[in-house]
């Protein structure tokens, strides 16, 4: 418990509408220091919204989000931005590299909002690029890099400033299987070096290669889908009902017909 870097307590999120759409339903989730967690679920399951909550990109309708043991969902914009910048690293499906900047300059933006001087930013950026295996591509612009290389640049950027946790939102969504495997390998490596990483994916096989898998469906975490769930004390009594869930979700999956078998 003491080494929990990120905690969601009873987090729900609804979007206005008639009727309101409830995307997340009373989620409890703890990520401990040094973990590598895959959050897996089909599209529409609420996993992106979950990442928004974890990344302080959006606020929950109810419940609490704790980063480094402090509740952040009530913070005002400057503090919330500070938390994102200093304690979290993000990797996106679209990489979000700035086209006019070299790999080093792109990575250096990771420290831009820390008030770090330009030279120190670049030095840190070069180091991070070495770490992700792009030491030979420092001065290339994104246009000259392959998809896998671009994502490595984005990962290097997320690592800058030594965040408590790296949140990766479908990081392999735009990559072929070979490159995907390389990126997964990189995540495993970084995790071994001590980084705490949460990866969101819709790819069950990919998720299975991670030490811990959290499965989400219809805004709820499926019980038993998380073999590494080493914190049973956190479970609330409502969890007992979840025994029925897999059946339901199997039905849903059949409806959706884009999903593979339910992991159980």
């Amino acid at each position: 418990m003491s080494n929990a870097v990120l905690e969601l307590r009873d987090v729900s999120k609804s979007y206005a509408g008639s009727p309101p759409i409830e995307v997340l339903k009373e989620i409890d989730l703890t990520i401990s220091e040094g973990e590598l967690v895959a959050i897996v679920g089909p599209s529409g399951s609420g996993k992106s919204t979950l990442l928004n909550m974890m990344g302080a990109l959006d606020r929950p309708t109810s419940g609490e989000v704790l980063i480094d043991g402090s509740v952040v969902n009530g913070l005002r914009d400057p503090s919330l931005s500070g938390v994102r910048g200093r304690r979290l690293g993000f990797v996106f499906q679209q990489f979000h590299l700035l086209p006019g900047l070299s790999a080093t300059e792109n990575v250096a933006t990771g420290l831009l909002y820390h008030g770090t001087k330009g030279r120190a930013r670049k030095a840190a950026a070069r180091e991070a690029l070495e770490r992700v295996g792009l030491g030979h591509r420092l001065d290339q612009k994104p246009g000259k890099l392959s998809g896998g290389e671009r994502q490595r640049v984005a990962i290097a950027r997320a690592l800058l400033g030594d965040p408590a946790i790296v949140l990766a939102d479908e990081p392999t969504g735009n990559l072929d299987s070979q490159t995907t495997a390389e990126i997964v390998e990189l995540f495993l490596e970084l995790n071994e070096q001590g980084s705490t990483i949460v990866m969101i994916t819709h790819d069950q096989d990919l998720a299975r290669s991670m030490p811990r898998v959290v499965e989400i469906l219809d805004g709820q975490i499926l019980d038993g889908a998380d073999p590494a769930d080493h914190d049973p004390a956190d479970h609330d009594p409502g969890d007992d009902d979840l025994g029925d869930e897999p059946v339901e979700s199997e039905l849903e999956a059949a409806d959706g017909d884009t999903n593979e078998d339910d992991a159980s």
Binding site: S70, L75, S79, L101, L112, Y113
Partner: protein
């Protein structure tokens, strides 16, 4: 044991980075930046060029006024009622200092003769050249009228007694006299006159002299019919007595019909022209300001588009710790820098035009520093203002939505 207190984690963006980010944002879209800045450039270049040209013209006019002296009077037979313009019957008397205050007087007498290149040219083809005569006493004519000789020389005491002629610039042009090599002559009503000099063009005042062929009165009297009275008198009066003298001149020059004597102060026309120039410049500058405003709208427009296009970038920056204020400042600074770039380009263009005009007109270039600073200040303010709304929109983007591709 938890990590550092998250509430104390504040984002920080160095000022130098604010500016360099803005510059980066602009330089990575060069063509768009250049085209957008152009609107501002044209506005500011116009402001400066108009002012510079007007000031140069005014300085020139002022120099002309100073050279002539504002105490210079030009007396001609007015356009009388009914009859042909009367000459100035008592002018000769006046010339003999009836009016003590007239400090300097020179007169030109009309000559009823026609100037041609040679006898082969039909006599009716004068090309608008008129013939005037002056007395040996008026050899200093060029001084009060602020004239000068382009080539050759002006009349002297000898030349006024022989068939020789000094031509105004236009007269020389019409008669085909471009140099004095080979001692060219022109034919004035049957007699050949040696051309001894050509005057520089009178650009603003006394332009009548441009089309005049000036011969000596003695020769004119012998060869042609010449009235006893001059058709134009150039006089200089002490400034403090100007109004007074001006009032009594008509009665002195033509007591029978004082209403038919026109007394003008040529510099008056210049002064009026100055005022007109000034007014015209202001109107043009108002137009330039409108161009500038349109340029500002162009910037606002492009910035709004930029915010829409760069949604992902904004989301990324928010995820990297940028606060709303950071995002807003980025777009305001970008818009301001864009506008200032346009402003600087405009200043460069405007100043070049001012120099080019000065060179073309052979004036001294006057850089309108006041308008230059106004232009740059306007560019600055306009850029900042144009960036307000786009910056506000950018800062209100929901980071969670901005980081994902638009639906």
């Amino acid at each position: 044991m938890s990590g550092p207190n998250v509430k104390k984690l504040r984002s920080k963006l160095r000022i130098v980075d604010v500016v360099s980010q803005a510059v980066r944002g602009l330089t990575s879209r060069k063509l768009r930046t250049a085209l957008t800045a152009l609107g501002i450039s044209i506005g500011i270049a116009s402001l400066i060029a108009i002012q510079g040209i007007t000031e140069a013209n005014q300085a020139d006019a002022k120099a002309e006024i100073d050279a002539l002296g504002s105490d210079f009077l030009f007396i001609t037979p007015g356009t009388g009622v009914g009859e042909e313009a009367e000459l100035l019957p008592y002018a000769s008397a006046m010339l003999e200092t009836h009016i003590d205050e007239l400090e300097y007087v020179a007169a030109l007498y009309p000559v009823d003769a026609r100037a041609r290149r040679n006898e082969l040219v039909p006599e009716v083809q004068t090309g608008g050249v008129t013939v005037s005569a002056l007395t040996a006493a008026d050899l200093d004519l060029l001084e009060p009228v602020n004239g000068s000789v382009a080539f050759g020389r002006f009349h002297d005491t000898t030349s006024v007694e022989v068939p020789s002629v000094v031509l105004g610039s236009l007269a020389a042009d019409r008669l085909g006299i471009r140099h004095l090599i080979g001692h060219p002559t022109i034919n004035i009503s049957g007699t050949d006159f040696a051309v001894i000099g050509v005057l520089n063009e009178f650009e603003i005042l006394n332009t009548d002299l441009n089309r005049t062929a000036i011969i000596g009165l003695g020769v004119a009297d012998t060869l042609f019919e010449t009235p006893d009275n001059p058709s134009a008198i150039y006089a200089q009066v002490p400034p403090e007595q100007l109004d007074e003298v001006r009032d009594i001149i008509p009665a002195q020059a033509n007591p029978a019909a004082p209403g038919e004597v026109a007394v003008s102060r040529p510099t008056e026309a210049l002064e009026i022209r100055e005022v007109i120039d000034e007014t015209f410049a202001r109107i043009l500058q108002a137009l330039a300001l409108i161009v500038l405003a349109v340029g500002g709208i162009g910037i606002a427009n492009i910035m709004v588009i930029s915010v829409i296009e760069r949604r992902g970038e904004i989301g990324l920056r928010r995820s990297l710790g940028a606060t709303r204020k950071h995002i807003a400042s980025q777009f305001i600074i970008e818009s301001t820098v864009l506008s200032l770039l346009g402003g600087l380009l405009g200043v460069a263009i405007g100043v070049s035009i001012v120099f080019g005009y000065a060179r073309y007109k052979d004036f001294e270039a006057i850089i309108p520093w006041y308008w230059l600073s106004i232009g740059l200040a306007a560019a600055f303010g306009l850029g900042a203002f144009a960036g307000l709304y786009p910056a506000w929109r950018a800062s209100r983007l929901d980071p969670a939505e901005a980081v994902r591709p638009a639906a």
